[in-house]
């Protein structure tokens, strides 16, 4: 028999070796995870921004020093795939012990996460020796965890997570470029100064042949910009027309008011908001709506733009990768003296409501929930919060934690008037109205933009879109009411009744019914 040449065996040999190495690799990982006496915790999150993973690593190292019997593994997942990753992990019961809560509603939170209310009223032991010693855990957060409660448990009132940080939106500016254009690195303070800076940059470009853009932007970040600017025009409307008299107008309130004929986009305050959007567009790069966050970031870091309107979460990467000093300021909004937009303005807007960031919760499938809770407390104690703030250049949600030393301007502005509301229906269920708004925006903002054309196009389909979205909202409310039935029954029959639980849930259900009934009676009889 003829023997096979050696070369024909090589591929099989390589395949065999690779397979053997893979087996060994898997077995060795298992050995670490299973054979060890240590308790292993896993924490999964989407916060891959500059400094966040490093901050988690520092916190994990410190915690492991305090608890040598605990081993913690960090699982960072890109935000693009995080929602899908989390959903499949939760459903498959393989979710890490602690996960970041993103794109999670009350139904998912209630089913897969442990309620933390009972622990929130106890002090955080890791705050011992600080002014927060003995303070209930809940009250160690600047807003008493209300924003997280409203986000994850608006109906049941349960607390399913804690937020380590707060987001703010800021105007970042390249000090060197600003100095080159204006002779000073002082940023614009009023909307008029922002407008004037746009003209100065245009003159600088004409003089030097450069192609500087005033504000780097992209599709998603332009919406942040619009939703910061436009509420300045709806401040008075919010105060005067709030249906619940709580100084706010929800997207559902807006929708019903439109269907009742109480406003249109031609109503002066709304039209003024649209005009403001169109005016600020001239400061952004042409074709911004087709760009993504990375494109805008790239343009700013490449010094093709003088300013960049982005979230506090982006500051870390700006100071890490920018070969120039970056300054931080709030976006100048029209004030009451502004000749064009001032008549709808109440005054500077307070950011006290803030938006919670880095929300972490404990999954019900955790094998060591008590250790996970302890680590969550550790992450939200004053000293670790200070480390996070310093390393990640973000704003901590823990009371008294100093803002990043190099960017105190990131901290929320607590004084000011109540905010108005956006007019694009981003948060209305169904998304039909928002889609129509976004799809027609080019009619208003394009090179030959025409507000009347935009208004006509959007409003021609608006009643139908709003009705569809409201039907979706009503259906969602119906589901929540139904879901509360089982929770109420459980609260009545449980062997270890929680004080006040039943009445709280019954009250929540009653409020939901009161919200839903008029909507259904008026629009879907």
């Amino acid at each position: 028999m003829k023997r096979a040449p050696l070369s024909s065996i090589v591929p099989y040999l390589v395949l065999g070796l690779v397979f053997a190495w893979s087996c060994w690799h898997v077995a060795s990982i298992r050995r670490v995870a299973v054979d060890t006496d240590k308790v292993t915790l896993r924490i999964g999150h989407w916060m891959l921004h500059a400094g966040m993973r490093e901050s988690f690593d520092l916190a994990i190292t410190d915690y492991q020093k305090l608890h040598p019997d605990v081993s913690i593994e960090q699982i960072p997942v890109p935000i693009r795939s995080y929602a899908m990753w989390l959903r499949t992990r939760l459903v498959g019961e393989t979710a890490p012990d602690i996960t970041g809560l993103s794109a999670v509603g009350e139904e998912i939170a209630g089913r897969y996460y442990l309620p933390l209310d009972a622990y929130a009223s106890q002090p955080n032991p890791y705050n011992a020796g600080t002014p927060l010693e003995g303070v209930p855990w809940r009250d160690t957060f600047v807003d008493g965890l209300e924003s997280v409660r409203n986000l994850l448990g608006p109906v049941s009132g349960e607390l399913y997570g804690v937020n380590l940080q707060i987001n703010t939106l800021r105007l970042y500016f390249n000090r060197n470029l600003l100095r080159a254009v204006t002779g000073s690195d002082a940023p614009p303070v009023t909307f008029a100064e922002l407008r004037a800076l746009g003209d100065q940059i245009a003159a600088y470009n004409a003089r030097t042949g450069t192609k500087l853009v005033p504000i780097a932007s992209c599709g998603p970040y332009s919406r942040y910009l619009f939703n910061t600017l436009v509420p300045s025009q709806t401040q008075r409307f919010a105060v005067e027309s709030s249906p619940s008299l709580n100084l706010s107008v929800s997207p559902q309130d807006m929708a019903t008011a439109f269907l009742r004929g109480e406003w249109t986009y031609a109503t002066p305050a709304f039209r003024s908001g649209l005009e403001l959007m169109r005016e600020v567009t001239s400061l952004m790069p042409p074709g911004f709506s087709q760009l993504e966050r990375d494109d805008a970031l790239f343009a700013y870091l490449q010094q093709q733009a003088v300013m960049f309107y982005a979230g506090s979460w982006d500051y870390g990467v700006l100071v890490r990768d920018g070969p120039f000093p970056t300054g931080v300021t709030s976006l100048p909004l029209p004030d009451r003296d502004d000749p064009k937009y001032g008549r709808f303005v109440l005054g500077p807007i307070s950011e006290v409501a803030g938006s919670p960031e880095a929300i972490l919760g404990i999954t019900r499938t955790s094998r060591h929930p008590e250790v996970a809770l302890d680590f969550l407390r550790f992450l939200s104690c004053r000293s670790v919060a200070t480390t996070f703030s310093r390393e990640s250049h973000r704003i901590s949600s823990v009371v008294g934690t100093p803002p990043p030393p190099d960017a105190p301007g990131l901290a929320p502005v607590l004084n000011g008037e109540v905010n108005g509301f956006g007019i694009d229906f981003t948060y209305l269920a169904g998304g039909n109205t928002n889609r129509a708004f976004q799809n027609n925006l080019h009619r208003a903002l394009g090179p030959k933009g025409d507000l009347d054309d935009f208004i006509k196009a959007v409003e021609s389909t608006m009643p139908e879109n709003l009705r569809r979205d409201l039907a979706q909202a009503a259906l969602g409310q119906q589901r929540e009411i139904r879901r509360l039935d089982s929770q109420l029954a459980f609260a009545l029959t449980r062997s270890d009744p929680k004080p006040g639980e039943w009445s709280r849930l019954a009250e929540a259900q009653s409020i939901r019914q009161q919200e839903r009934l008029p909507l259904v009676q008026e629009f879907f009889p």
């Binding site: 192609k211 042409p286 074709g287 889609r435 979706q472």
Partner: protein, 315 residues
């Protein structure tokens, strides 16, 4: 064609059938179960959670009156026409490679075609997104450098398109009127490696004697293509056509990456697959998205049937 065998013979080594069970199991779990689940859920008002309500054919009747869905079918029809045109360069490239005298050169070109296939599809899409960037993108820079932009601006002024302006970069993906042309430009010069290799395989099965006979008759290069090569690779062209129609109808990755989940400004790039994605993951209407998927399935099935029935290859 396989010869029929007796039942006795087929069952003689019945244990061997167990070998195909794992494959059947995987196909069942990963291909048929999701499809079955989609059919089942298309009759429900379902938002992806545990709760769902049986609503019969309501999702389907809503889809019948959904203007976005039907306009997305219009868009996808245009894209199918674009893709038909884009088949031509691949056929020509395959013929050119086939006619190379040197086997070594043929091999070299085949390798050159296959190498870009290593680049993940998503990366290619992101490269194209950057290509269309109004400020830094290659396309606008080339148009500026060659002066073609001035020509476009003049044409715009003449025809009144209102899309090309002298003092602003061209927003290929931010102007509704430019979205379909951009989707047409995508993939230039449209030499898909898979297509070329399929056609090449067909060309290589043509016997040398056919060419020799043609040369004796004094047939020129173009006539060779028209009367010999093209008719003899029509089987491959038909296969390509089926794959192209199915792929274009169900694909939405290109639109999602380039234009976002709303199909870009004016929703001009909305295709049925993207609308299905939008309804499921943006609006949370998973039941309705399943119904759209079913309608899409019926369309693909119908077009494939028509293609198999009427696009005949006579050799």
């Amino acid at each position: 064609m396989a010869l029929p065998i007796s039942r006795h013979k087929a069952l003689r080594e019945w244990k061997l059938y167990f070998f195909i069970l794992p494959s059947l199991l995987f196909i069942g779990v990963f291909s048929y179960f999701p499809a079955g689940s989609a059919i089942y859920h298309s009759f429900f008002d379902w938002q992806g959670g545990d709760n769902k309500q049986l609503i019969g054919f309501e999702n389907f009747s809503r889809a019948l009156h959904d203007p976005v869905l039907w306009s997305s079918f219009g868009t996808v029809s245009v894209l199918i026409v674009f893709n038909l045109i884009k088949m031509i360069p691949a056929i020509l490239m395959a013929v050119l490679i086939h006619r190379l005298k040197s086997d070594r050169a043929q091999y070299g070109y085949r390798v050159l075609l296959v190498v870009p296939m290593i680049v993940p599809g998503l990366v290619t899409l992101f490269i194209w997104k950057f290509f269309f960037d109004p400020n830094l993108g290659v396309l606008n820079n080339v148009l500026d450098f060659t002066g073609l932009k001035t020509v476009l601006v003049h044409l715009d002024q003449f025809f009144g398109w209102d899309v090309f302006f002298a003092n602003a970069p061209i927003g290929w993906l931010s102007q509704p009127a430019l979205i379909l042309p951009s989707l047409f430009l995508w993939g230039f010069p449209w030499i898909g490696a898979v297509g070329v290799l399929i056609y090449l395989a067909g060309l290589q099965s043509i016997g040398q004697e056919v060419y020799e006979a043609a040369e004796l008759d004094g047939v020129g290069p173009f006539q060779k293509f028209l009367y010999i090569e093209l008719p003899l690779i029509l089987t491959q062209v038909r296969l390509s056509l089926v794959l192209l129609i199915i792929g274009t109808l169900k694909d939405y990755g290109l639109q999602l990456v380039l234009l976002g989940d709303t199909g870009g400004p004016g929703g001009r790039g909305m295709v049925p697959g993207l609308w299905m994605y939008n309804r499921a993951f943006i609006a949370g209407e998973f039941g309705y998205a399943c119904a759209i998927g079913m309608i899409l399935f019926v369309f693909i099935l119908g077009l494939t049937y028509l293609n198999n029935k009427y696009v005949r290859v006579d050799k």
